[in-house]
Each structure stands twice: as structure tokens, then as C-alpha cells.
Symmetry: C2
Subunit: 526 residues, 2 copies
């Protein structure tokens, strides 16, 4: 049996997703990461349609890959023309890449309506393009676009297009559910029909998620014996996206027991998923199966107490297998068991029915109603717990701040912050500029505090997020600011909420400074 291959098209089909855009440097980093992860084929772009992709192919060839093959993507030649003179085919060849994926039309309707040519000419386009590339000693994967819709509309013609690609020497026939509307049992039936005609050729599957079934359709195809699965990391792609490899890979390995990735590599899954979402500059979907921040997160009281007794009560796999982690949430649905479990993490030893726990719970609920959220703001939550238990210590007191943002004509904009803070009974003033009002506040506060607490120099703000809370009320909506900070040892999140974005940012900033100071102070005590 041929080994199952994973074919990633994040850089080509994935980049068609709304809001997805990769720079040249991003694409090179992604290729290296996918190779390290163990992907077999990495489709990188379309040299015939995109000048940026041509430059990229020159660069990618310089990378030494340990595992993956690079693929270039393109279409069959244009109707009524010579393959060797086709600009798209020439661009594919001049990219100098070993594996070429050629898509052609399987659906008679598309041949007539989109290509505006005859059914006969389309068969020639497929045959001639594939055989021309094979004559240049390329590995050729033939993508049968709209195959399932084509098969339903005109089975004989759809099969004939595959036959042409096969006769021309294609190494794999990949069946595409381009519009993403096919059902799992249709996939099963149609692949059965194809296998009856081409019992020996290697088949692939390429699905889209328009009916929310792309992952199921891919798995069903594997059960039917296809040898290649195409998809994208995080399911990026046009409309509702492509089949999500971050779900397919662990399902294949952990549920279907197809061990084509080593165990160590599967543990990279969460990292790969988040890395690519970072480069795509898209928020990582929290409830994404296997890799999301919430995928193994427990919020309901009953679930938490059961998971504390035995993990597999509410988890289908061990999160470590895919490099993810279990989390217990602080939320209005959570009861004492959550607070106890969290407080234990901070070295605080509460007993059940402790009045302090009830006090904290009441406080958390009140703040949550105001728009605070401690999911992701563990730093602020820890300060809140310590304030309630007398373990908190004040390092500075804010007297006032003033932020000025001024723009004159088309000249640069100026942001300036004045901060007055009491430290050790002494009043301190400072003024600082910054790139934007929050950065100016950050700079001003540091200007004072670093003189007293030089360890703050190690602390950096790593991330800054703004969430508008009540939609539908324009510029007076409440905002929640989440700041992530870190030093050489830890990272922590802090939160602020206000109708005023400057005030919300200030709260989160102050919490972050306090968290750092308290953490270092406690360390010295021990």
C-alpha cells in the first residue's frame, strides 16, 4: 500500500482566505516550519499568475529541506493554443520546481460557462498540459477541479477528464470538492465509482468547508483509500476555507491510527497552528479543535470537579499529544472548585467554604458584569486574589495622569503623557512622549518607577489587544484592553475596562507593573 501523503496548500489556496496575506519572508518561514513538522508536499504559489510568487520560487529553492517537496500550482493551457507556448505553462517551467500541480475542469457546465470552450478541447487541454510537463520530467499532480459536482452532473465526462490526465502520465489524480457542498456519503459513493474505473492509480482528496463537512469528507476519502490529503493549516482559504489540516492530521494519527508522522512531530501541531496564524496576522480561533486555546478548557463546575478527579472524563485525548494544554477557567459559571484550583497555582492554600473564597467569587462576578474577563488575564486575577487575602503590597500610588495627542495639518502627530506618582511617600512627576498615547503613558510610568525598581527594565510589553465590548453604539462603546507582558522568566496577562480607551489601557498597564514588582518581591522573600 502506498503511504498516505499530506499536501499543504496554505500558501496558495489558504492565502485566498479573507484577511490572509503573507509577505515573502513569511512564506519562507512557513515553508521551513512545515518541513520541520513533517508535511510531505508544500504548495507554494502560482508562478503564472503572480509576479510575487515567481520571486518567491527563486528564494525557496535555496532552502535545504529535510523532508518536504515544494510544489508550484497552475492551470491547464488556454483553449485553442499550443501548450509549449502557453505563458502559464512557461512560467511553471521556469520556476524550476520538481513537482507541479495542474488543475483542470471536470464539470461540463464549467467548461462551457467559465472556460467558454468545447468539452473536447478541454480534454485536449488536460492531456496536452500534463503530458508536456511529464516530458520535462516533472512529478505532476492533477487537480480535478469541481470533480464531485462534475460527476453528479455528467459522470461519463468527469471520468473522461481523469482518464486523460491518467493517460498523459499524471502521478496522482486529486479529486476536488471545489464548492464545498458535497456530503460524506456522496464522497464515499463517488470515490467508489472512480476506484472502479482506475483501480491502481494514486488518488487525492481536496475539500472545502462550505457545508462544515470538509474534515469529515477528507477522512471518509482516506477510508475509501485515497493516498493524498490536501488542506491548509487552520483551514484558511476562500469563503469558508479549505479542509483544516490541524484537525485532519490528529484525527488520522490518533483516531484512525495512521502513523505517518512521528509522535514527536504531532506534538508540534499546536505550535505550527499558532505560528501560522501569527504570520497570517489573524487571531487564533480559540475553540479550534485540538489546537485552540479553549480546546481543553473547562468552565462548567461539574466538568471541572470531574476533570480534577480524572482527566479523561471530559477530554477525548490527552492535550499533550498535540502540544496543547488543559486550562481551568475563572468565570461566572465556575464555583468554588475553580477558585480553589486557581489559588493553588498561586501558592495560596484555601479550604472549601473559606469565606475568602466566597468574597473573591463575588468580586469576580461583579467585575465580569462590568466587562472584565480574567480568561487570559491571569496576572490581574492573581492581584485580585492577593488583595482579598492580604498578600498584596502597594509599590506606588497614582496621583494623576494627563495625555495629550495633537495633530497640526498633515504634520506628524505628537503624543505626550504627564504622570504623577507617589513612591515611598515621595511625589514624582514625569513627562514622556511616545508612539501613540498608550506608549507615552508606558514610557512616563517607567521614567519614574525604574529609578526605584530597576528590575522593571527586564520587563517588556509583548502584546496589546483592544476589544470593543458593546457593539452597536459607535465611539462611546466600552473597551477591554488586554496586555501581555513578560520578563526573562514568565509572561502574564492583565486587563482593563472602561468607556475610555486610555483609562482601560492604563488599568492594564498598572496591573502589569504591579504584577512584576510583587512577583520579584515574593521571590526575594523565599
Amino acid at each position: 500500500m502506498v503511504k498516505l501523503k499530506i499536501y499543504d496548500t496554505t500558501l496558495r489556496d489558504g492565502a485566498q482566505g479573507e484577511g490572509v496575506s503573507f509577505s515573502l519572508e513569511d512564506k519562507l518561514r512557513i515553508v521551513k516550519k512545515l518541513d520541520e513538522f513533517g508535511i510531505h508536499y508544500i504548495e507554494c504559489g502560482w508562478p503564472g499568475s503572480n509576479p510575487k510568487d515567481e520571486i518567491f520560487f527563486q528564494e525557496v529553492k535555496k532552502i535545504k529541506l529535510s523532508h518536504a517537496k515544494i510544489c508550484a500550482f497552475g492551470s491547464t493551457r488556454k483553449p485553442d493554443s499550443k501548450t509549449s507556448e502557453d505563458a502559464n505553462v512557461q512560467a511553471l517551467l521556469s520556476a524550476g520546481i520538481e513537482v507541479i500541480t495542474i488543475f483542470g475542469k471536470s464539470w461540463d457546465f464549467h467548461v462551457k460557462k467559465a472556460l467558454e470552450t468545447t468539452l473536447e478541447e478541454n480534454l485536449k487541454m488536460i492531456y496536452e498540459t500534463v503530458s508536456f510537463l511529464k516530458s520535462k520530467r516533472k512529478e505532476v499532480i492533477y487537480d480535478a477541479e469541481h470533480f464531485f459536482d462534475g460527476y453528479k452532473a455528467n459522470k461519463d465526462y468527469a471520468l473522461k477528464t481523469l482518464e486523460k490526465a491518467h493517460e498523459a502520465g499524471a502521478d496522482c489524480l486529486c479529486l476536488c470538492d471545489t464548492n464545498g457542498g458535497t456530503l460524506p456519503w456522496e464522497i464515499e459513493e463517488i470515490i467508489g465509482g472512480v476506484k472502479a474505473c482506475f483501480p491502481k492509480i494514486s488518488l487525492g482528496i481536496h475539500t472545502h468547508n462550505d457545508n462544515d463537512l470538509a474534515v469529515a469528507n477528507s477522512l471518509v476519502a482516506v477510508k475509501c483509500g485515497v493516498n493524498m490529503v490536501q488542506g491548509t493549516i487552520n483551514g484558511y482559504g476562500e469563503r469558508c476555507g479549505n479542509a483544516n489540516l490541524c484537525s485532519i492530521i490528529p484525527n488520522l494519527q490518533l483516531k484512525l491510527q495512521i502513523n505517518y508522522l512521528t509522535e514527536r512531530r504531532l506534538q508540534m501541531l499546536t505550535e505550527v497552528s499558532r505560528f501560522i496564524s501569527e504570520l497570517a496576522n489573524l487571531p487564533h480561533r480559540e475553540n479550534q479543535p485540538y489546537v485552540g486555546k479553549s480546546a481543553f478548557t473547562h468552565k462548567g463546575g461539574i466538568h471541572i470537579s470531574a476533570v480534577r478527579k480524572h482527566e479523561s472524563t471530559y477530554e477525548h485525548i490527552d492535550p499533550l499529544l498535540v502540544g496543547n494544554a488543559r486550562r481551568i477557567l475563572v468565570s461566572e459559571l465556575s464555583g468554588q472548585s475553580t477558585i480553589l484550583s486557581k489559588a493553588g497555582d498561586y501558592g495560596l492554600d484555601f479550604t472549601k467554604n473559606d469565606p475568602q473564597v466566597k468574597e473573591i467569587l463575588k468580586n469576580v462576578k461583579k467585575l465580569e458584569q462590568m466587562g472584565y474577563q480574567f480568561e487570559g488575564a491571569e496576572g490581574s486575577f492573581e492581584l485580585l486574589v492577593k488583595k482579598a487575602t492580604g498578600k498584596y503590597k502597594k509599590f506606588f500610588d497614582l496621583e494623576s495622569f494627563r495625555v495629550l495627542v495633537e495633530k497640526r495639518g498633515i504634520k506628524d502627530i505628537i503624543s505626550e503623557a504627564v504622570v504623577k506618582v507617589m513612591v515611598n511617600g515621595e511625589r514624582n512627576y514625569t513627562v514622556a512622549e511616545g508612539d501613540g498615547p498608550v506608549n507615552a503613558l508606558d514610557n512616563a510610568l517607567r521614567g519614574i518607577l525604574e529609578d526605584f525598581y530597576p528590575q522593571l527594565k527586564e520587563m517588556k510589553l509583548l502584546d496589546y489587544k483592544v476589544r470593543v465590548l458593546t457593539e452597536g453604539v459607535g465611539t462611546i462603546a466600552k473597551v477591554r484592553v488586554l496586555i501581555e507582558s513578560g520578563d526573562h522568566e514568565d509572561t502574564w496577562g492583565t486587563v482593563g475596562v472602561s468607556e475610555n480607551i486610555i483609562e482601560a489601557s492604563w488599568q492594564a498597564l498598572v496591573d502589569s507593573f504591579e504584577y512584576k514588582l510583587l512577583k520579584d518581591f515574593e521571590k526575594k522573600l523565599h
Copy 2:
């Protein structure tokens, strides 16, 4: 054949999702909306575990529903106790709701590890709780928690738990894939096993999405003959969420041809999905199948030119069937055909290879590199096109602005904006306060412009979104601000990008004012 019923648990299981939280008022509005949409059962909460839910049940009974039945959720009685004295069961009864869903344990491992009781006692708990509630003339749905895992671990015991619920008179046995790890062919096989034992009883399916297969698993169960599908709107729920009714409902109706909702109601799908995401205060997932903003959005050049020829070339259904709409994107992947198609929407008539189109394309690409995004900011894009074609008209000129945010001690924070603007060659000053710096700027700009252009009074800012662009650089990250505005006729989006959030907001604000003025000016001309 019994008609298929849709059972919504957004308000109970959905509310366990990370970041999901509904107020009492939200929950009542959601019940009305789901009833109007045609949902058969609406599970509303757990009166035994949550005092907020008890109050809610008193309120919900006052609503006159046209269609749906309200359900209360609870567990079987506690081990070794009397059902009639069980606090949870009493709370369920005193809620006074007609339909009660009771969950019990099917998996022997759970009975021992989580319930910490005997297998025998668990069977009694199921039987006695269901029959007690039946004796009170309730409709009882029995949720067999972890049924599929339980069946795989100990088939006989799992079936015995169903038998007890059935003997006790349960009206429906709902099989739950609580941990969300089951595969579609396992669902098929296990439901087959259950049907062999209980050929006549009504079965339900309740799946979770931990392996990204919840929708497929629900559809497979319907094919196997279950009569009830449980799920949540937008797939909200613990960990990776519940089965997404927004995908299941259109799949059932449009793909499996099960017409249990009228056509008119299916057209509410997108609205219902967005309404509930609004109340849950969660961003609506753009690539969500059927209902997402991107679900019928075309970005790739080839797709756009094909869709312009014939819609169904790259769409699996007509978006209007589910109340969604087609969109054509402006992006770096898009070529002339996109700009031509967009410009047509604004009444501009370009020809192919027009140098103005090339100029606009160059401009869009440059701005996109700086972080602008015109997906969702059609207002700003239209201004850009009109500037390039001489159809733009200036209504005011900004000379300068200054924003001051000041906080003293714990007192309220003050935001004040000073704006200087030239209108008709006349210099105008104004100062205004606001709830936050952006609102102050908005108020100041209106303070001047409404005197000259009273039609601005009809314009409202509807939504304000902030996106931090380059993650990983703390408070000096670039931000992109998206503002949505509207008047009595239209809504439009505008965008601003800067390292300074005030400047980015200002750009989007000014574009919004200009868009409104230009729109009204053109209307007068025609």
C-alpha cells in the same frame, strides 16, 4: 415517520463556551428569536444549579411562544437518596416547565470515577428520576451522557442505562458524544446497535466538536433515523463547542431535503446567527459556513471572473436561501476584474486596461502594505476611487486637532477635544467633551460641521472596532480602526491605520463624514 425536531441548547450548553455569557434580558430575547425562527425545543438552563436560571424560568413563562417548547435541564438524583427529596429534582419541578431534560451516566468508568457510586445504583438513579418526573406529567428527554464512549467501553451496561430510561417512560433517548471524539462511522455503527435493541423509541443526537466532526456526526445520525438533533447557534459550547445548528439546519434542509422549516424561516438563519453572536458579545466568525461574512465572498481573480459569468461556478448554494449575501473583495490578489466590478457598484464606468484602474490598483496595494484593509471598509474604498477619478469633492479641511485625557486620583476621567477646521474658506474652532477621546473628537467635529451640513444629524456611528496589527511589540503596535456608520438609508464602513490609535480613529471618522456628505451631494445632482 416522526418528524425531525431541532433542540437548541445555546442558553445552557452554549453558555459554557469560553467568553460566552448572557444576561437575563439577553436570554429572554434569544428565546423569542429562536421561537420565531422555528426551533422546536429551547433548553434554557439548569434551575437546580444556578439561581439566575430560577429567576429566568419565572420570566420566560410570561412569553407567549408561537412554536417552541421550553426545556429545563438537570441531572438524575444524587446517589443513595430519595428522588422526591432531591434538591435538584425539586428545583426542576418548581420551575414549572413542561419539558424536562435529564442527563444520566452511560459510561461505567464515569459512574465509578466521577459519580463515585455503583453501576447498580446509577441504573436506579436513572429509572427513579425519569419515572418520578413522568408521574408529574412532564415530557422527559433523557440525555445519555458519554453514550458513545460508554458503548465502546461496556456496550451491555450502556444499553442497560437506556433501557432503564425507556422503561421509566422517557419520551426520547438522546445519545450524547459528550467528549466529542467519536468518528462518523462509529456513530453509524453504534446507532445501528441501539436501534436493534429499541426499534420503536424516539432517539436524539447531541455531539461536540472536539474532533471537528460534530456536524458530520449529527447528519450521519439523522441518516440513521434519529428524530431529534441537539446543538447550539454558532456552535457555542465548552471546549471546541457543540454541534453548530447554523450548519446543520441548512444542510438538513438544502442538502438532505428535510423540509421541517419553511423556506421563509431558513432565510432568517444568517440574522439569527449574528443576533446571538451580538448578544453573546463575541465576534461573528467570518468564515463560518452558510452565515459568515466571508461564506460567499470571492477574492481570487479567477473565481471572481467566473462568478461574474455565472454565480454557481463557485457557490454551492444561493446565499439568499440562508439570508446571506455574495461579496467581491478588493485585495492584493485581485486584479482588474475586481476593481471593475466594484467601480460598477459606485456608478463608475471603466473599461478594461483603463490607466485609472491600474492607478487605483497600485494605490490599494500600497495602502494594504501599510495595514489598511478595504474588506469591510467600502466607504473608504469608494472615496479612494473617487479621488482617483476626479469625482471627489472636499467639504472641509482639517487644520489641527488636540485631544486631552486627564485623570486625577480616583475621580472620573475627562476627555476633551479641540478641533480646528476650514469650511468654505472660514476657520472654525470648537471644543467638546466625550466619553473617551474618540467620542470627544466625534462630538467636536460634529459641533462645527452640523452648522454647515445639517444632514449630518441623521448620521450615526454604529460600530467601532480596533485591531492591533503587529502582534508582539507591546504598546507601539500599529492599530487599524474600523468604523461603521449609517443614516436612515445606508450603512458604510471606513478605515484608519496608525501607530497612534487617536490618529487611526480620526482617519476613519473623517472618511465617514466625507462619505456621507459626498453621497448626499451626488443624490442632489441626480
